[in-house]
């Protein structure tokens, strides 16, 4: 079955979405992430969507669900690399993605996570 790979680096999960996801693929990713977060200590999920040309309500909901679910399991979600046109479109569509952290790129996303972890320690 088609799957989006999830890369683990210590307590951080990195997902780089490089394909135009159909709905089932997005659902599979959400479930795989839940399993990955629950199976080993995870502080953060970095979702790199820089290659996505559009984010519609389904993908948006998948990101929001992942963030909500991750938070309950102790992991924060950071969406990185959103294209400006995608951000504007999401707001007009009516999706605010509350509760999701965002960063310009993976490097800044990692820095955000590390700062948050240091503040908790």
């Amino acid at each position: 079955m088609e799957r989006i790979p999830i890369l683990r680096m210590g307590k951080v999960l990195l997902v780089t979405i490089q394909v135009d996801m159909h709905d089932q693929l997005a659902m599979t990713l959400q479930n795989d992430l839940a399993k990955a977060i629950a199976s080993q200590e995870t502080s953060c999920v970095l979702l790199d969507i820089s290659a996505l040309e559009i984010v519609d309500s389904f993908i948006g909901r998948m990101m929001a669900n992942t963030a909500g679910m991750g938070r309950i399991l102790g992991a924060e979600t950071v969406v990185v690399g959103m294209q400006p046109a995608v951000a504007i479109t999401l707001v007009e569509l009516g999706l605010s993605l509350k509760g999701i952290h965002t960063a310009l790129d993976v490097e800044r996303g990692m820095a955000l996570v590390e700062r948050a972890a240091a503040a908790r320690a």
């Binding site: 040309e53 559009i54 389904f58 909901r61 504007i88």
Partner: protein
Amino acid sequence: MIAEPVVARESCFQLRSDVDVVTARRGVHEWAKELGLSILDLTKVVTAASELARNAVVHGGGGVMCLQVVSQAERQGLRVTFTDQGKGIPEIARAMEDGYSTGSGMGIGLPGAKRLVDEFALSSTPSQGTCVTIVRWKV
């Protein structure tokens, strides 16, 4: 009075599954790019098309998307029509409200899609189906 837009080019896509939704929105993306829509207008029309194509599959039991390049006077645009033979929308006014949903969704698809395009027309007959037409003009 402004004349009806003239169709310069047309292509249709079957909408039966979530994979078809991806194929359909790629088609919209390709045509919007060829037409020369700005990256923001392109992103908006493709996103709106994605919402409406999914509606046809999930709520309409499948349907057809027809993509057209239309011209009217000096302007050109992309017109996309979604037709299904599903159960129809009984309360159109409510379906156009933000947050109203009969399914498990968030209820932003229809009103959200409307905000992303220049023209939006919806007609629906209970138990016969729904037809939504959107237009995004090139500025």
